[in-house]
Amino acid sequence: MIEKILFIENGYCPTCKRVLFFTEDHMCQKCLESLEAIRLNRCLKCGREILNPGIRACRDCISMEYKFNRGFSAYGYDHKIKDIIYLMKFGNRPGLCRFAGKMTYRKLEKENRLGFIEDKDLIIPVPLSKAGLNERGYNQSELLALGLTSQWNVSEAANIVHSNNLIKIKETAHQRDLNRRERLKNVVGAFKITDPEKIRGQNILLVDDVMTTGSTLNECSNVLMGAGAKNVDILVFASVDD
């Protein structure tokens, strides 16, 4: 009760710092619209934004064999999105994570790409380690996935998100402190499937908040494909552009 009336999570717009008076959204209308206005030139494979308009696939996708099939990235990693991601990770903002999920859904809807998520059998968020989860109190990718599915028909969405099957068993150093090669190495063997039966033959959507080099998502896809998944696609809220 008290957190609904007195302590509210979305008192300010995280990007422009204006007070949000009456909206239930986590961003002000202006900032939302300014984000919607941006049209991305995306990599055909991973969905990452490409700055050079003549190129259709990003360097990472050309140079390395990602284990996932296709990808969708809702936003580029500009300073507005940066603020949001920071709060999602370190600002104790579970509501904002769900809201980011909704934003992602709206983006898919707007670009007529709802088919990308609707044919999936399972949605699996990239997990946190136990210690990380304890510290943060929530898994931002899981809430992002739940926010995404909350826009669907409820009965459908109820158990499509499986967050306990893929787990993180190894504490890894923060990806952002490492360089490209170290990042790839860092995550090897960090993930495990607890119930491979549920994975076998399924069409899976892997959800994460942000993609930098894609090494975490690649490793997770690797584990999932190893467990017999039919297909793994990835969806991220934001990706660092190429």
């Binding site: 957190e3 009336i5 007195l6 302590f7 979305n10 008192g11 422009c16 710092k17 204006r18 008076f21």
Partner: protein
């Protein structure tokens, strides 16, 4: 739901206005706000909660307001010789005088008591029981346009009466341990300050520690006009400084948040009590505690909700607090910091630590200054633009000083030998603040007089502010809503002014014993006849200038000084140099040497006109002001009988302003046999029996009369004879000593009268 307290606060405020002003349109506004709140709710549960909360809160506010009103309106016969009271405030001690609030034990009425030092042996402390006797009065209401309403102010403190004590004695001392210890500690701290600091420094230190305002008038004026008097009222600033001090110490000591919360809440409760639970200290303390609570529970602190929750609590305690300037400034400042500051500050990225903080401080004070401008303009008619810079210098100093004072007082109590050194440093900081303030006070444009704003203009100002800062800028179908709204409101103001401009308004100010009449004519032409004057008070500045600024009158086209007696002229002398005057009209009988301010008037480029019978000032087609006395060729007899007598004609309505003429002058006017019949008479010489002869009254034949006279004046004006004469003739008369300022409005055919207070 998410901003429930915002709605509750506004609803409570409207309910309070409805009950206290008895204007029915507030219920309409209330219904609109309530409807909006319901419309924004999401589900049934929310609606249920909102219904209950809004109705219960609004109802309790209206009941509380009605109760305070009834208590204040209640008349009690206080002729009984002695009143047995409990002291309900800390004593405020000025040099000669002690001020305490009392509660009558028998009938629960409350009194603010002014005690002479000599009257009482022991200074009464909080909670003591005392016996007082003296002159009990109702606090004075507002008496002039733009004037201060002391009764309203005291309502915010729940005070019903004033008593000027002639005798008093403490019968019984406070026995409650907690109250006694707070009160003792406070006394001890004050004693430490008294014995270690010099006079002005000591008063300043008390102001900073307890928000007690008893600086000497000169220093008080300096701080107010330099725009940093807020550091003398214990405010959010102080609590913020204490909080950050505690926070830093606790973080260094690695104390857990829960312990911090406990220690800080005890300290703040203690401190708020010592400061007499002033509006700002209660506001700031509660907000800090809410913030700390959110840190313990990992909830998200939201300043807007916190402000309005605390505002609601404040309204519950006493809705009249909302009329206090300190309430408006305190809440206004913190609201502007929450709403506008982060969004401006977020736009700038500065690396250098010092430059960044100075810059942010500058933005902070500018934000507050812009947001509180209407409050300052309407209440003080003055702003201090340079305070933006002074604040950045003085506020950190005040912060250091506050912490140093707290430490210093403890040190002096624990280790008296260190007191000298500690207080030596303290007095240096205080002197530095004094020097800074004095420097800024002396700079040109440090204090600018500004006009009051109309409510609609204020509303537009704030809407515009929000709009400029990117609020309510819709991109969808409401895109043009705000610009259209602005245009509509602007039209309203223009149309309102246009209709207002058809009428002539004559205001007889209550300047105490003396005369001052303001004539507002269509087309923004304003004429002042006399400026009042009191040897001990500056009525020219405090009443006349204040009213001019309140009414938004930027210059006086014509000022008529009837004669040189100080109760007519001193006020005008105060106006010269402080307000723009185009022409000054004097009678041509009195010697030039009697006008003490002619030199300054010439310096200010005021046209001087020496006038006598036959001079006519025309204003537009329909309005003329004609001088009918002194007659051409008259000889000087005395000052009163040199008075300029003027007759103002607007279509079918006329006024006659008679100055101080006596029977001698009246006879001459009658003999001259000019047209002097008038609708409204300003009774000559404050209603003295040496004026207003029956013959003169008959030849004027007024419907209405106004006597400009001071309460309990030593000349016993107005004379019973004059009053009787007018009653017998069936002339309705008003007295400024009883009715306050008297306003008469006319469109040239009909007249409307309005008085400021009724007693």
């Amino acid at each position: 739901m998410r901003r429930m307290f915002v709605f509750l606060f506004i609803e409570g405020l409207l309910m309070f206005l409805l009950v206290s002003c008895e204007k029915l349109y507030f219920i309409l506004l209330w219904a609109i706000v309530f409807g909006l709140q319901l419309a924004l709710s999401k589900n049934k549960e929310e609606i249920k909660l909102i219904l209950v909360a809004a109705l219960v809160f609004s109802l309790s506010i209206s009941i509380r307001t009605a109760k305070i009103d009834a208590q204040a309106a209640d008349y009690r016969d206080y002729s009984e010789s002695e009143i047995f009271c409990t002291v309900i405030s800390f004593p405020k001690i000025n040099n000669e005088e002690i001020v305490v609030d009392l509660k009558n034990i028998n009938d629960k009425t409350t009194l603010r008591c002014y005690l002479d030092r000599e009257v009482i042996e022991k200074i009464p402390g909080f909670g003591d029981k005392i016996l007082v006797s003296g002159n009990v009065k109702k606090p004075p209401e507002k008496r002039n346009p733009g004037g201060f309403d002391y009764r309203l102010y005291l309502k915010a403190y729940n005070i019903d009466y004033l008593i000027y004590a002639e005798a008093a004695s403490v019968l019984e001392e406070q026995s409650n341990f907690a109250i006694k210890s707070i009160s003792d500690l406070r006394e001890r701290i004050i004693r430490v300050l008294d014995s270690n600091l010099e006079e002005n420094e000591r008063d300043f230190a008390k102001g900073i520690l307890f928000g007690e305002k008893n600086l000497s008038d000169e220093y008080e004026d300096m701080f107010v006009k330099a725009g940093i008097s807020h550091i003398l009222a214990v405010s959010g600033l102080h609590v913020g400084i204490i909080y950050s001090f505690f926070y830093t110490v606790f973080t260094c000591l690695k104390v857990s948040v829960k312990v911090q919360f406990a220690v800080l809440s005890i300290f703040l409760i203690f401190y708020s009590c010592m400061c007499g639970l002033s509006v700002s200290v209660v506001r700031a303390s509660l907000m800090v505690l809410i913030n700390m609570y959110s840190r313990i529970t990992k909830y998200h602190y939201d300043p807007i909700n916190a402000i309005f929750l605390v505002g609601c609590i404040n309204l519950c305690i006493n809705p009249y607090k909302a009329t206090m300037v300190s309430f408006l400034l305190s809440y206004g400042a913190v609201f502007s910091i929450s709403v506008f500051y982060p969004l401006i500050a977020g736009k700038f990225k500065i690396k250098n630590f010092i430059i960044k903080n100075v810059f942010l401080g500058l933005i902070l004070t500018i934000t507050i200054q812009i947001f509180t401008y209407p409050i300052l303009a309407c209440n003080f008619n003055g702003i201090s633009p340079l305070s933006i810079i002074l604040n950045i210098l003085a506020v950190p100093l005040a912060g250091v000083l506050l912490i140093a004072l707290i430490i210093g007082v403890f040190l002096a109590a624990l280790a008296p030998f260190s007191a000298d050194m500690v207080f030596g440093c303290l007095s240096m900081i205080i002197d530095l603040i004094f020097i800074l303030t004095k420097y800024f006070y002396d700079l040109p444009f440090s204090y600018i007089r500004v006009f009051s704003l109309e409510p609609l203009i204020i509303l537009m100002y704030y809407m515009f502010l929000f709009y400029v800062f990117g609020y309510f800028q819709f991109e969808n179908k409401y895109k043009n809503l705000m610009p259209i709204l602005f245009a509509a409101m602007f039209m309203c103001v223009l149309i309102g002014n246009h209709f207002n401009d058809k009428s002539l308004k004559v205001t007889f100010f209550d300047v105490g014993q003396g005369d001052s009449v303001l004539i507002e004519m269509p087309g923004n032409i304003d004429v002042l006849i006399d400026g009042g004057g009191n040897l001990n008070k500056n009525v020219g500045e405090d009443v006349v200038l204040k009213a001019l600024l309140h009414k938004g009158i930027s210059d006086l086209d014509l000022v008529i000084l009837t004669h040189t007696h100080f109760d007519h002229s001193k006020g005008i002398q105060e106006l010269i140099g402080n307000h723009k005057i185009k022409r000054l009209v004097l009678n041509n009988l009195e010697d030039e040497k009697d006008f003490s301010f002619l030199e300054e008037a010439t310096k200010m480029k005021i046209d001087l006109i020496k006038s006598e019978e036959g001079d006519i000032f025309r204003f537009g087609k329909q309005i003329s002001l004609e001088v009918i006395y002194p007659l051409i060729g008259d000889e000087y007899v005395d000052s009163n009988n040199s008075s300029l007598v003027t007759r103002l004609v607007y279509d079918q309505i006329s006024f006659i302003f008679t100055g101080d003429i006596e029977e001698y002058g009246e006879r001459k006017i009658i003999e001259r046999n000019n047209e002097i019949q008038s609708t409204i008479l300003k009774v000559a010489h404050h209603g003295s029996d040496s004026s207003t002869s029956e013959a003169f009254l008959d030849s004027i034949d007024p419907k209405m009369a106004v006597i400009s006279v001071g309460e309990n004046n030593r000349y016993a004006h107005p004379a019973d004879k004059t009053l009787e004469l007018m009653s017998n003739k069936g002339i309705k008369y008003y007295r400024t000593d009883l009715n306050g300022a008297v306003m008469i409005e006319t469109d040239g055919k009909k007249i409307w009268t309005e008085i400021t207070c009724e007693e």
